[in-house]
Amino acid sequence: MSKKTETVLSGAQATAEAIKLCKPEVIPVYPITPQTGIIETISQMVADGDLDAKIINVESEHSAMAAAIGAQATGVRAYTATAGQGMALMHEMLFVASGMRLPIVMSVSNRTLSSPLNIWNDQQDSFSERDSGWIQLYVENAQEAFDTHIQAFRIAQETDTPVMVCMDGFIVSHTYESLELLGEDKVKSFLPEYKATFKLDPANPVTMGPVASPDYFVKFKKQQQDAMLGAKENIKNANEKYAEISGRKYGNGLIELINMEGKENAIITIGSMTGSARELAEKHGIGIIRVRCLRPFPVEDLQEACKDLKSIGVLEKDISFGANGALYDEIKAALYIIESRSKVSNFIIGLGGKPISLEDISSIMEKVKQGKEGVEWLD
């Protein structure tokens, strides 16, 4: 038996501990609140000789992702972390990474986007990149941040698709929690050595990132979409296998069902807000469906979980201006296919770090039980 280590760490530190165990060889970094704690901790590990990696101090997040792409293309694991404006600046390079099918892993400490300037948490940054071709996993707490990063490296290399692990800035990244780490031997048994499908190697030269004419381009994009849809199985499987080494499991990997047995109504949550909802679900006699994986979108799992519900409330920290909360619209589209007649409501909460109180969640739960429809902003 390898030893279990119980400790108290912030989400950022827990993430750094997971990265240390997964041993990326190149880590291009650029600081931005509330992500900096992750990179700061990793830089310290490298300086202390606890992690053998090359830290590259780059001049922007666009460069950070460009450097990660170049590094991963040589056949080593590359990792970086970002948030908010930094992620927005990466936008162009995110599509390059996924299009080149480079399994980079990135942490996102979710922060809203300017303007007005605001450093606090919502999920507008990563929701705005949901079409970038990256797998997106949203964690609830520091323990899950640790666990999910280790899974992310495995999912990425199995699918040749980059993965971002999103944690709510400050709420998860800066909050200290008691958690359990894993020994190196266990991680080694879970995460096979990385062998790149293709790599830049002077002995066997290849061309990466070439021009593609329209006929070919369509085929590459379809190939990418097939890999993304197929990744659902890899994410479920990583969740199962990880449970074997850690004893911890997050729903089926894609969604988690909480207090759902025999319930007619449910709320759908994503990220750290789920913690508050857990406290209240039983009291209000309502279920919770937590979306852990936003991309690939777990359509079938959500349809199955929602098919017999009378009323569903979707809680989210983003707004697709001129439409609705992005998750709400996707859930409604998924339900339309199964001809569900559930009432579906949308609650736009926690934008720009606006605290979400237990009273807020209680009132949402009651509204959902009463069969509310449409969009409501909690301001």
Partner: protein, 85 residues
């Protein structure tokens, strides 16, 4: 259509040799006798189409796209511009 590789990787490297991009040129740099062979143009050429051979810049017109950066950077003002016909 040939098989496509993951991420559009081209397994047979060097495919760009076949694509003679010199045909895109509308202006042509001409190296004159004032060339000192200092290699500034060789370093700056974005297409790696210039090599200094025997103390003089030699342009590979198969791949020179005629951007004229060599003329801009030439300290000896040894490169002249000609219009392609």
């Amino acid at each position: 259509m040939t098989n496509i590789e993951i991420g559009a990787v081209v397994k047979n490297a060097g495919s760009s040799i076949k694509n003679k991009t010199g045909s895109w040129r509308s202006t042509k740099p001409i190296v004159t006798d004032s060339c000192t062979g200092c290699k500034i143009c060789e370093f700056y050429c974005p297409d790696m189409a210039i090599k200094v051979v025997d103390g003089k810049a030699k342009i590979d017109y198969d791949y020179c796209k005629g951007c004229m950066i060599c003329m801009e950077v030439c300290a000896a003002k040894a490169i002249e511009k000609e219009r392609e016909k």
